[in-house]
């Protein structure tokens, strides 16, 4: 039943305002991320729409066919120019934003109205691919409130409800939904992996190490408890600050992203000392082509090859769990590399990282040897106010400069990227290595478990032919515990930056720190219990509540039962309210009738209160007085509108306890 919306918009211009508000709320987090022209386009079209609230649709110039096609071409072209593709996360979101505001322009029917709202919901959803913090959750709740209030306002056809009542209704709906949301969240069977291949830029969701490094790519992994691989050592397990599990090596950066070089080169030249460590790796499926090995691998498994930067790669992706034996030298020197490679290890993106490059060059001038520059950088990280945190502030335009000079909060990828840029600026060839650091010994099985949360990135710098490629872990300069004792100890530490104004007052400082720690603890819970609630955690939760080895069938059974229960409780609550007597006088009079009826005097459908009272009094002379006064008061409230009799009626009925005869 389509409702003629143009008429609705005429009678109720606020419907358009509400719709615009919801769309804006949903798009806002994206607008801060997308290229500026998209945000401008959105805002301009929105204002244009609001300044032309109602018109017959075919008189809109902009939404005429030609106009629409032109807009579509501009949009597609613009998005392609900005992203180089129309697929994937970022370009997809950009298109969605533009689509939402375009749809806002051509609302002609009820369906258009709803579709605009639905696009808004997709915008909310896609926001979670970028951020899943607690503030995001709060923001989303507010957005949802406005969404529901918009729908309620649209369906309030005579538009009588106040803004407050709409929001209250929306809030009530959300609150009532809460129990079911919890149950669904806890019991809905979690899949172990994606249903199909994710777009290339879907970093947010992948639960494994990628061969690209962007700000946030590793900190996201650190939420995951999933096992990356397990290692059985032939001898003793080496010290944990030696446990660098080498993965992809990254050379090139565009200012944001670091990518590897895939040249094959079987001749790795390496000086070694001492005996190698022998071990067996049981690698979980990664859907990637490289293997992990302790730095530095001395040999390679069959069917694999070395690259010139000592990655071990396979020809095909690792689709199922594999097991391979390795030998590694912990004491090694990677000597000699080609001129071209060293040249490549100095590449810097154009027009990026100006401040960092300047700093690097200054160090170059101040310091004597390359090693001095490296030490300068590590001291810089150690002595300035840098923080090691899982949830750094968003870096928008220049991840290195903003990190180094503004936010100073970062995870290992931030430190590594910034360090390499500084080194390259100082003329020292440097490259990034991604992999895992550490791992936890399982005392029961005497093996090492390396989880996704142990994902790490570090740097290698070329310190001349004498020393070759040397590993430098800038994260260790900021958070030595990260390497010494592992990620678990490193992270919960306070990362609170006390504002300057509060630093002089010890009490204020303490309170601020306390607040910060509390917030951090809450965030930690959120990360562990909400964001990190995956299949592993779910089965652990099910074990804890006594549902050992619950399979999908059991979960679906639980869910069905929960939904039915929810339905019954909700229905009971809602319908009980509707049965409640809205008329207090009638309520109490009915009670009186019920009590008399128990004595055998039932009211007839033909009887008014007075007739009933007269008949009752004839039967029960002992009650005549009470009956009379109750009836009088009831009549006074009901028919004479005397509200002050209501209290008396209530009191009398409460006292009215006729004995059966």
């Amino acid at each position: 039943m389509d409702y003629p919306v143009s008429r609705l918009l005429q009678r109720q211009p606020s419907a358009l305002l509400w719709l615009s508000a919801t769309t804006t709320l949903a798009a806002l987090p994206h607008l801060l991320r997308v290229p500026i022209w998209i945000a401008l386009f959105f805002v301009l079209l929105l204002f244009w729409r609001l300044s032309h609230p109602v018109r017959e649709s075919n008189t809109h110039i902009l939404v005429s066919l030609i106009g629409k096609s032109a807009l579509a071409i501009i949009i597609l072209g613009g998005v392609f120019a900005s992203y180089g593709t129309l697929m994937g996360r970022d370009a997809g979101v950009a298109l969605l934003i533009l689509l939402s505001v375009m749809k806002l322009l051509e609302i002609r029917s009820e369906r258009d109205y709803y579709i605009t709202i639905y696009i808004g919901m997709l915008l909310i959803l896609t926001n979670f691919l970028y951020t899943q913090t607690l503030p995001t959750a709060f923001y989303t709740v507010i957005t949802l409130l406005v969404f529901l209030a918009t729908l309620a306002g649209f369906n309030d056809r005579n538009h009588r409800l106040t803004v407050e009542r709409r929001l209250r209704l929306a809030g009530g709906l959300l609150l009532q939904a809460l129990p079911l949301v919890l149950i669904l969240f806890l019991f809905f069977p979690r899949a172990s992996g994606p249903l199909w291949g994710l777009p290339e830029d879907a970093r947010g969701g992948v639960s494994g190490l990628d061969d690209e490094m962007t700000p946030g790519s590793l900190s996201r992994l650190s939420l995951s408890d999933e096992v990356a691989f397990r290692v059985e050592f032939d001898g003793a397990i080496p010290d944990r600050d030696k446990l660098y599990w080498r993965g992809p090596v990254l050379w090139y950066t565009d200012g944001f992203k670091w990518v590897p070089d895939r040249m094959r080169d079987p001749s790795v030249r390496m000086d070694v000392a001492g005996d190698p460590v022998s071990y067996t790796v049981i690698l979980e499926p990664t859907r990637k082509k490289w293997l992990f090995a302790l730095e530095m691998p001395a040999g390679k498994p069959d069917d694999t090859f070395f690259t010139h930067d000592v990655q071990i790669r396979r020809r095909d992706e690792i689709q199922k769990r594999i097991r391979y034996e390795m030998d590694s030298h912990l004491d090694y020197r990677l000597i000699s590399d080609s001129e071209e490679n060293l040249e490549r290890a100095l590449q810097l993106p154009r027009n990026y990282h100006d401040q960092a490059i300047e700093l690097g060059r200054r160090w170059r001038e101040e310091a004597g040897t390359d090693n001095d520059v490296v030490q300068k950088a590590l001291t810089y990280f150690r002595e300035q106010e840098f923080h090691y945190t899982l949830t750094p502030q968003q870096l928008i335009n220049d991840p290195v400069d903003e990190f180094l000079f503004q936010t100073r909060q970062g995870f290992c990828e931030h430190y590594t990227a910034a360090f390499i840029v500084l080194m390259r600026a100082a003329g020292i060839p440097a490259r990034a290595v991604m992999g895992y650091q550490g791992g936890r010994v399982n005392p029961m099985g005497d093996y090492l478990i390396v989880r996704q949360r142990d994902a790490h990135a570090w740097a290698e710098v070329w310190l001349g032919d004498e020393r070759g490629w040397v590993r430098v872990d800038p994260t260790a300069a900021v958070s030595p515990t990260r390497v010494d004792t592992g990620i678990d100890e490193a992270l919960p530490e306070s990362v609170v930056d006390v504002p300057l104004v509060l630093r002089n007052n010890s009490l204020a400082r303490e309170v601020w720190r306390q607040l910060g720690n509390t917030w951090d603890a809450i965030n930690n819970r959120w990360n562990q219990w909400v964001l990190g609630y995956d299949r592993t955690r779910q089965s652990r939760f099910l074990d804890n509540i006594g549902l050992k080895n619950a399979d999908y069938g059991d979960l679906i059974l639980i869910l069905t039962a929960a939904v039915v229960l929810f339905f019954i409780i909700m229905a009971f609550r809602l319908f009980r309210i509707s049965r409640r007597e809205t008329d207090a006088a009638k309520h109490w009079y009915r009670k009186f009738q019920q009590r008399l009826a128990r004595c055998g005097i039932r009211p007839g459908s033909y009887e008014g209160p007075r007739d009933y009272a007269a008949r009752a009094a004839r039967h029960r002379h002992d009650l005549a007085e009470d009956i009379q006064s109750i009836t009088d008061n009831y009549v006074a409230v009901r028919y004479a509108g005397k509200q002050d009799s209501l209290e008396r009626l209530k009191r009398l009925v409460k006292q009215f306890r006729p004995a059966k005869q």
Partner: protein, 320 residues
């Protein structure tokens, strides 16, 4: 609560609520087109959440799904417990619309928002675009117009009351049946010239013809007299309801006879012609009677008389 695809495809099959009883069990509910689209959207979003293993996406999908479920109950509640009374409509002429007063009793219920009540003929029946808000405890009055194409009786038939409040994702509806009917007079049509008068000087000389006739005195008002012949000035002086009488040639009586209608054979056209004459005669203030097969009414005048005659025309040849 019956939420059934079959009922949506073949609505009107489900049992209805009797007029005058509370709408309780016989409420049907099904997602609207927007609601179906919404559930499709939810599935897409859920697949996205699974694929990206995104916890907050899961939360969003579950929240929306729960709200969807709760909204269904809200929609259902918006109809539940109403008592709908359909009252007889005033007689109308064929071709017009009968207006059936509707009384919606919400004296036991909470506030209802944006209800639409409309006649239900088939699944293409649409709402009126006129929505009712009923306050808690209100006895709400409204009406439904039913076209009356032909003489006889018109019934409101099955009414449908619908609600999509609060989110428009579900539509709840209920059918109300009633036995109420409205009389439909034939549509007046034909030759407006009256047939010849029957001169008669009987005692029924109470016509009020034209102002040119001489005033001849008063008599007491009798039921059936035209209100136009009442002497209002006398009435205003509180001297009783008196009828002005005139002498002259005005004591004419008109017997409208079936056979006088020029179009023999076609019953409906004869009835329309007689109807037109009846109205003309009443308008002009004549005394008139009606003779049609199976029915005869002596001359008379006034609202009640007119209604009797028209009713005879309306029900001519009908079993009821």
């Amino acid at each position: 609560m019956t939420a059934s695809f079959v009922l949506e495809r073949y609505p009107g099959w489900g049992p209805a609520t009797r007029e005058g009883t509370a709408v309780r069990r016989r409420i049907y509910i099904f997602p609207t087109r927007q609601g179906l689209l919404f559930s499709f959207l939810l599935i897409v979003m859920l697949i996205g959440a699974i694929n990206y293993s995104n916890s907050m996406a899961y939360l969003l999908v579950f929240t929306l799904a729960s709200v969807f479920t709760a909204a269904m109950l809200y929609t259902f509640r918006n109809l539940r417990g109403l008592v709908i009374g359909i009252h007889p409509a005033q007689p109308v002429f064929a071709g017009r619309e009968a207006v059936f007063p509707i009384l919606i009793d919400n004296r036991d219920g909470d506030e209802r928002i944006s209800l639409d009540i409309h006649p239900y003929r088939n699944r293409k029946s649409r709402g009126r675009g006129h929505y009712m808000d009923i306050a808690a405890g209100e006895l709400h009055r409204d009406s439904v117009n039913i076209p009356a194409p032909a003489r006889g009786y018109v019934r409101p038939g099955r009414l449908r009351i619908t609600s999509t409040w609060p989110l428009g994702l579900f539509r709840a509806w209920s059918y109300i049946d009633s036995d109420t009917a409205a009389l439909v007079y034939p549509a007046p049509a034909g030759n407006p010239a009256l047939p010849p008068f029957t001169e008669d000087a009987s005692e029924y000389q109470s016509g009020s013809l034209s102002g040119t006739d001489d005033f001849s005195g008063y008599r007491q008002y009798r039921a059936g007299d035209s209100i136009r012949s009442i002497d209002w000035k006398v009435l205003a002086r509180e001297q009783g309801v008196l009828i002005k009488r005139f002498s002259g040639s005005g004591m004419r009586r008109l017997i409208l006879h079936w056979d006088q209608a020029p179009l023999t054979g076609d019953t409906e056209r004869i009835l329309s012609q007689l109807c037109l004459w009846l109205l003309e005669a009443e308008q002009a203030g004549y005394q008139y009677g009606l003779v049609i097969p199976g029915f005869e009414l002596p001359v008379g005048h006034g609202e009640a008389h007119r209604h009797h005659c028209l009713k005879a025309l309306a029900t001519h040849g009908l079993s009821r």
